[in-house]
Symmetry: C2
Subunit: 475 residues, 2 copies
């Protein structure tokens, strides 16, 4: 970290801790030069950075002042999905989003792709190149079906940061988190079964239900605290639910993290009704505050939680290295893993194990999390400034996805209209079995660059145009 | 190829074409020196090699003579599996084989692993290293769900060699052939359905049936011409069969290739009963004679054949690059691919596309196929010399797997007894739903080295010991 970054970080921390509050005058440049033993230009650069982040403002001839932090904007209330098990639809729209990679140099607002150009990834590429160049036989045959022991050891070690005591043998490596979710769901269900899900819910797991003729019971979800336990309990009483599939930490798409107490209650509820929980923790490590939140799995004392995750959101998606900690279902999950794709590719696993073991993973996380957290404030500001009055916006506690609600908007049509300009958002309807949340959209804020700003300007203009057309039609 | 190899190859070819027949005296060393314009030692080395392969023998003071080629040993007759749909068992024994990779420097006789140390693979490792080192963003995000266009173009081009006219869009990339088979079966069935299979049949696809609660209808199979059409027709009349899952070219484990006329008839039969065919072509490119055999897919005029394959047997297993040409089921298979593992890893696909495009794939195939073909003769000789009289052995037309039948043998127990010596074979019972073929074993002949010979000596001694114990017990 450079000197001016250190100075900025300290000031930022003091604001977070309430030492400097909104409206306070900050120490003068000269005072800080003394305190940190740095040059005037270093302090000036630090203050300029904080100004760009909209955390402070310079008042001519007076100094720097702490800006009021915009109140976390939240969605109006708990979501209200249909209160009965539904077939999942929406595949065509999901395919439209995931079928093809975005063209290069276009900012994809729609997909959940991390910053793959972060400099802290470099040791990973070096290790991947070195392993492939060597091409030694051990890494070229079929790997252990459970996955490389080296990687499972590192994962067991990392799991302790989310409150989990896992042995390497409690973990199976998968082809991304998608395979982990897919084999978990297939292990627990047969066609016609009902799975309870948070709502809105990740389209990837919803589509697994569709492909295997399962029904989704969408549970009302609070955009700040997560799935409603009361509604879930009612559903468990009323329907023969086989599993609860949920993303309780840095939820996709809503960004919330369920409070620990509610996580504990959820596991207890699952115990009471004897159902399994499939926990998607793919964004879990991208917490804006240390330590990262605990998983449901950490409260699981009878092996009913199947924890699923991957490095697709923390490192790079195309590695296709994911994992599952399947608890009491280990044998069935191992069988399902074998029949689905056999053993996973070895060399990416070894490269990641090395990357973690040498401390690069934690360094990389610190780097990108700082970037995403700063971007959140910037992009939130942009959305509030550009989008129609009354727009609801989520307030993520980790990850890099924002959920935006514009009353009356048809986000599927919005997407179609923007196709020509090469901008794609994820329409909210993908996140519902029956296509609800059509007035919402999910955007990715891994970048807060000027192309990103331009893209948001284009989106907001198109929305305004659609609203004007709607108003004209209504007359 | 070195000069002495060229000389040996020409002599071998002349024997194959019948120019030199069993018992013939071969040209003298002096004559060949003249014909090939090489040194005496070159010809001597060539003849020594052919002698080691048991193709010729030196008679003192007389010269070199062509040895009688041992008649292709075949299994006694058509297999006789149970004639009703069965649940698949045997997972524990399969897991024993596929759960862990063999220790280094141990020759694994059991698994279907190609020679991953072949020199002609080198450009692949170089390209993989180069692509990973560069780490440019396009290859790091999620790939096209169908797979990289570059690779699909190369695959469409290669398909013409098996008589198939495929467009790149007819092909979807998968995580190895296992995923191709898995999504094909899941697309076509629901739990309780019946799938017809050749018998013996690849344990990997049999276990897919088990995991998804499907029943296997095992069809009698001729070790030279494949699945019995008559028995299959009877089964199709009698049972509600949803799909036929079959490996008609360089069959695993029997090694046969169905004659073209029978392939054509099989497709016609499937049309008459309106069932789909899942064709496993994973060993198809490893043909001992050019051109490689045609696929069932090449006779498919209404899109009912789902062709599945990968580079796990031709290049290296740990690439996990496979594909499926799903015909009329493309949309459902694409959906199933998405929910199973999402888009596949990009860089391995790009490396393979480049390897094929630059002609390395065809060069590599020529290299390893020659090696496997030579090894077959050597290993066949070893098995005939070492194993009990009356041992049946398959006569593969491609690939690198031998099927050995020893009347009265318990191959599962044989495996257990050899565990301490670090030698593993694939017991025949893995290849049957109900554990038939327990007196058979499958061995891999990618190597015909002295450790391989030693391993076969150990296996045959253990078999002799077991037979002696059995005889003693019977007294």
């Amino acid at each position: 970290m450079k000197r001016y970054e250190e100075v900025a970080a300290t000031i930022r921390q003091r604001m977070e801790h309430g030492l400097y509050r909104a409206g306070d005058r900050l120490p003068s440049i000269r005072e800080l030069c003394g305190e940190f033993a740095v040059s005037i230009s270093t302090v000036q650069t630090a203050y300029a950075g904080l100004e760009a982040e909209r955390l402070i403002e310079a008042r001519p001839k007076s100094g720097y002042y702490v800006l009021p932090r915009s109140a976390p904007p939240v969605l109006p209330g708990v979501t209200r999905p249909t209160q009965r098990p539904l077939d999942v639809s929406q595949w065509d729209h999901v395919l439209n989003l995931v079928g093809e990679p975005g063209a290069e140099h276009v900012i994809s607002l729609g997909r959940g792709i991390p910053d793959v150009e972060a400099k802290t990834l470099k040791p990973l590429f070096q290790q991947l190149a070195a392993l492939h160049r060597r091409g030694h036989a051990a890494g070229l045959k079929y790997d252990s079906l459970a996955g490389s022991p080296q990687l499972r050891e590192q994962l067991a070690r990392l799991a302790s940061s989310s409150g989990c005591l896992l042995h390497p043998d409690d973990i199976l490596i998968t082809t991304g988190c998608q395979e982990a979710l897919s084999i978990a769901i297939r292990t627990l269900t047969v066609p016609g079964d009902v799975v309870a899900v948070d709502s809105p819910s990740f389209y990837g797991s919803m589509q697994i239900l569709k492909a295997h003729q399962l029904k989704a019971m969408e549970i009302p979800t609070d955009p700040q605290t997560g799935i409603s336990q009361e509604a879930l309990e009612l559903a468990l009483e009323q329907w023969p639910i086989k599993a609860i599939q949920i993303t309780p930490t840095h939820n996709n798409p809503l960004g919330y993290t369920m409070p620990e107490a509610r996580k504990r209650e959820l596991v207890a509820l699952a115990q009471r009704f004897d159902v399994a929980i499939i926990e998607d923790d793919i964004y879990g490590d991208l917490a804006y505050r240390a330590p990262r939140p605990r998983t449901l799995k950490s409260f699981d004392d009878d092996g009913r939680v199947l924890l699923c995750s991957s490095f697709s959101k923390t490192l790079i998606p195309s590695l296709r290295v994911g994992w599952i900690a399947p608890g009491r279902y280990r044998d069935q999950v191992m069988h399902m893993k074998y029949v689905s794709t056999g053993a996973s590719a070895t060399l990416p696993q070894l490269a990641v194990a090395d990357f973690i073991g040498q401390g690069h993973y934690e360094r990389h996380l610190r780097n990108v999390v700082r970037q995403y957290q700063r971007n959140l404030d910037v992009v939130l500001g942009w959305v509030q400034a550009l989008f129609p009055l009354g727009t609801g916006v989520s307030y993520p506690q980790g990850g890099f996805l924002l959920w935006v609600e514009v009353k009356g908007l048809d986000s599927v049509r919005l997407n179609e209209r923007m196709a020509a300009s090469g901008i794609q958002i994820a329409p909210g309807s993908l996140f519902s079995a029956s296509g609800k949340y059509r007035d919402c959209l999910r955007i990715n804020y891994t970048q807060a660059s000027s192309p990103m700003y331009d893209a948001l300007v284009t989106v907001s203009r198109e929305i305004a145009l659609m609203q004007a057309e709607q108003a004209a039609e209504a007359v």
